[in-house]
Subunit: 707 residues, 2 copies
Amino acid sequence: MEDLFWIGFVGAAIALLFAWLQRSRVMSFSEGNEKMRKIAASIREGANAYLKHQYTTVFKVFLVVFILLLIIAFGSGGKMLSQFTPFAFLTGGIWSMLAGFIGMKIATNSNARTAQAASESLNKGLRVAFSSGSVMGFTVVGLGMLDITIWFFLLRYAFGINDPVSLGNIMVMNGMGASFMALFARVGGGIYTKAADVGADLVGKVEAGIPEDDPRNPATIADNVGDNVGDVAGMGADLYESYVGSILATFALGAVGGYGWGGLLLPVALAVCGIICSIIGSFLVKTKENATQQSLLKSLRTGTYTAAVLSAILAAPLTYFILDGHMGVYVAILCGLIGGCAIGYFTEYYTSDTYKPTQELAAASETGSATIIIGGISLGLKSTLTSILIVAAAVLVSYFAAGGSMEIVDEAGAFTAAFNQGLYGIGIAGVGMLSTLGITLATDAYGPVADNAGGIAEMSGLPESVRERTDALDSLGNTTAATGKGFAIGSASLTALALLVSYVNIVQENTEEMLNFTLTSPTVLVGMFIGAMLTFVFSAFTMSAVQKAAQSIVVEVRRQFKEIAGIMEYKADPDYASCVSLCTKGALHEMVVPALLAIIVPLATGLVLGPTGVVGLLGGVSVTGFAMAVFMSNAGGAWDNAKKYIEGGHHGGKGSECHKAAVVGDTVGDPFKDTSGPSLNILIKLCSTVSIVFSGLILSFNLMNLL
Amino acid sequence: MEDLFWIGFVGAAIALLFAWLQRSRVMSFSEGNEKMRKIAASIREGANAYLKHQYTTVFKVFLVVFILLLIIAFGSGGKMLSQFTPFAFLTGGIWSMLAGFIGMKIATNSNARTAQAASESLNKGLRVAFSSGSVMGFTVVGLGMLDITIWFFLLRYAFGINDPVSLGNIMVMNGMGASFMALFARVGGGIYTKAADVGADLVGKVEAGIPEDDPRNPATIADNVGDNVGDVAGMGADLYESYVGSILATFALGAVGGYGWGGLLLPVALAVCGIICSIIGSFLVKTKENATQQSLLKSLRTGTYTAAVLSAILAAPLTYFILDGHMGVYVAILCGLIGGCAIGYFTEYYTSDTYKPTQELAAASETGSATIIIGGISLGLKSTLTSILIVAAAVLVSYFAAGGSMEIVDEAGAFTAAFNQGLYGIGIAGVGMLSTLGITLATDAYGPVADNAGGIAEMSGLPESVRERTDALDSLGNTTAATGKGFAIGSASLTALALLVSYVNIVQENTEEMLNFTLTSPTVLVGMFIGAMLTFVFSAFTMSAVQKAAQSIVVEVRRQFKEIAGIMEYKADPDYASCVSLCTKGALHEMVVPALLAIIVPLATGLVLGPTGVVGLLGGVSVTGFAMAVFMSNAGGAWDNAKKYIEGGHHGGKGSECHKAAVVGDTVGDPFKDTSGPSLNILIKLCSTVSIVFSGLILSFNLMNLL
């Protein structure tokens, strides 16, 4: 069994091959008329330019951290840090970047094609957009699988690390590069896309009264570029990180849980199985012409649910075979799959306008923008109830089912085998939740493509019916994106807990002193406070970044409307490029501080408070980060859909006072749901991996050692 | 030394006597002309009616909890719960209620008098308003001291409990009644005041374009009633609870810290000393005629700083004498005093329009209401940085200074004496922070009186110069209120930590099993998640309560403007009473669920997860509750002052587009800073005392016992 890890290569190959086939399929479609091709080219160009700048900035930061890691690893002769970690940091970053980049490439090549296909039929439009999403989905899982398997083979066979515990402990540190890259991509992309979106809306929709994606709006190209660099490239890097992170966190727990190589093989096998099931599911996504919103949704759901159910069924024999019949772990996997679906369902409940909460939120617009803001904040805060109860139940059930017990420490003060077994259950639940990421990500990533297609249809003056079709696809994308976010955030919380425990295990292994991680210890408590603060301050920086960048766009758009005569009468073209370049500058400038916080705060906390403070910090940041992410994502989603609900003819419809109030809500929600919220998922895991990577350093040097 | 507790009676007598003298002084002023008296009478009537309804509702809930406690205490023969606790629960509730009620009484009798006095001179206006605030401040500390001392003498001398540890453990449970009452008063009053305020502003200022407190606005009396039932009665009950809670929490730690009776005497002595210093300080509050804002502020600060410095000086010999020279504890007291001032300073920095953050927030209004909302949220989130770092530093320094060490558990797994000594330091820091509450509360409570005085001046048509003077007083009140909130929230965090540890001590004393409170234990982690959820959901309920109640006011005001002809031309009087009764109904209806959450969630968590889950919950709710409270209070304060800054002539001044955007910000901020934010302070302590009170029950019955 310990030699079955080659299936990782098989899984990666299948995923990447499928992605390639889907890509060829998409590229075989026509990009439409010259105007469409021209617009698509501008978007492509803007997105490329932004990513190039972004990667240049990120490269510098990576270089600094890489050198720092090299010094620690080689300076201490590998004692404070494995000498592989600096290199794994680089590869993780590169793969994560690549996942986002490829996704962006295909998305910017599919938008005009989707618009053109939608002008022929709705089903054709769906197929093109969904295929483009699939390229992204399967590239992410394929590259993730490849990264993990290559490192596994390198370490085990080339460097001869033939003990599962050591190997797991080294591999868990490999997550840092991917997390760090993902944070930059999410934060930078998130700032870009929302600055453009907010800026375009504030002047275009609210002040000038022109519709969305109107070619007269100077920020409209930037807005469409934003969808690609934020919602596609950012999300790709993000989910690459989630996927790899959940598997690596389980690696570290698998061996100490007493399952040996089997404990490491199971998450890999589960992921490979998920890839195959996802491919099967994606063949089921198609729709009839003139399909309703309901039947479109049904067609996507058929795909994802089939993949999930198949995965759930196949996981039973897999677990039985790999773990010698420890079927409690199978229960944990089911917990993950069911928990993910449940969070997805409640996310939809709170954010979709077919349910009461969003409808009531729309009604709050009757008394103006202040009440719809208060209502949305309250809705988002309230929605943490179900998500947290689901995660709490998933944690407890998977822990106890996998063999955990209330006795977590033995007489000698060491963690019991039962404790580690239970934790392995929590980790594997996270892997289960993400095992069908190939298809869930495809349904998620097709949204921005449809959104862009709509923009291109509008700008190139295609018939109204085309825009209606792309709108149907786009609106559906909002719902599937909500589900996707549910999975991402649910798995993030489980992975963060698994990493937190791995941290404690690793620290305790490397010191003879018995560390006291009791919650009531002052250093742990202070660490928790700092963790909560990190969540709040990080959110603050990402929010204000959007606000600042958006303000610069507003000023520029107002200037163009004033200074370039004839824009409003379609007689002169606005200067799209200046908005694109302002967004790029703003995003790059504002993304660095929040991303660095995630490294500096855990490191500084460790240097002052020692490992117990770090554990407090990780606990605090995981818990508040999760709650805050759910709050922000759901509040933002609900505002967005409340606005759409009003646009659908309720409370006076488009242009009414209620609609204006709802637009304010939607605008506030933009950075909530697409910048701060999703970045928090990454933050909580990055803090854990950073702490793990620097644990050797912190153990040797910290202020508390001196007291 | 153990017989010096009678000084508690002396302190209480001095405080109450001073409050009585101040009251007589206020009452000797004239209430002005008939119109003013009539308006003041309506406000008084509305406030009385509301409080009567509120107390009736609260009484029913208290009765249920009282019976529940009786059953547990007497049903278990005192094993699960001390038989004194049910009665202490009642007295705590009654005293807390009384503190708020007396404050409200004097405030509603001072508003017209302040307006009248301000029509004579600014200094006279200040003296009346400040004296009214002093009545409240010294009533709160006097009653608090009385309650504690009476119970102490009852338990020790009438019931012969002559062991400081047992006595401390019983007394710490006495806080529950006060906390529970405070929560109702804060939440109910907070909903009332903000529903009226938001409702009045939304239609009056934004839609009808009439100024604040305009007699044509049907919600204007309700708005003024709200100041009294929320900002006065609610705050009184709240700070009564903080004051008593901080002393009682230290009681429980004083004895186990190894200081015997001295450990209990010190907080009492410190409080008595603070009362005397506060009285001295309050004689220094006076101003010259035509004083500027700056010199008014200086006069209030002279009072509070003198009291604080005197207290700090006197605390040294007190500590030396009572604790036999353990001067480390004195350092902890200083930490509390300095920490409180530092939090107050940064609160002012983030919320006052003399500093950059609020000025920048005001500038965000240039691009509309969405960006000022995003900016305010971001400002509030960012402001948690300093508050949390200050609390973290105060916790660490007071812990180590008071003798704490990194070794918190001995070989046998019991907490070390050094650990408990350190914790005593944290507890006494909280007492130190609140020791001069008499005067800080006076500077805080005078704000709503000045606000009301302005309303009465406006409604009764006094000359513009009177309104200008009351506005100067009111605006100053905003700044001092910010400082007051800093003290309240800082002490809440320290008290919550002290109570959390007392919980662990009490639980561990009552079971032979070694409980594992390690942060990585699944039950602790799940508890932390639930604690964070409680904070978020509690905030959601209080926010949405305001939104719902405000919406009903908006509808009513719109109806009156439409149906009662001639309101706008001053030809017909609006129906003030209907708005007052709507607010009352709304507040009472909406306050019950959030208040019950604070009892039900810890209890349910305990029944499912056992004591380790409860500890997680308390950690989670303390940390996230603190961060959330700071965020909400500061964001709300900054929006308020950004609006005032614009009204002061910046960015186009009153009536400009920027002003409209700022009004939206202010309206959103209202429930943030006056309903949800301050209620969270109480929530985190109530959760702890509830857990302590029910700890015996939970130890015997919980689901984890069955696993």
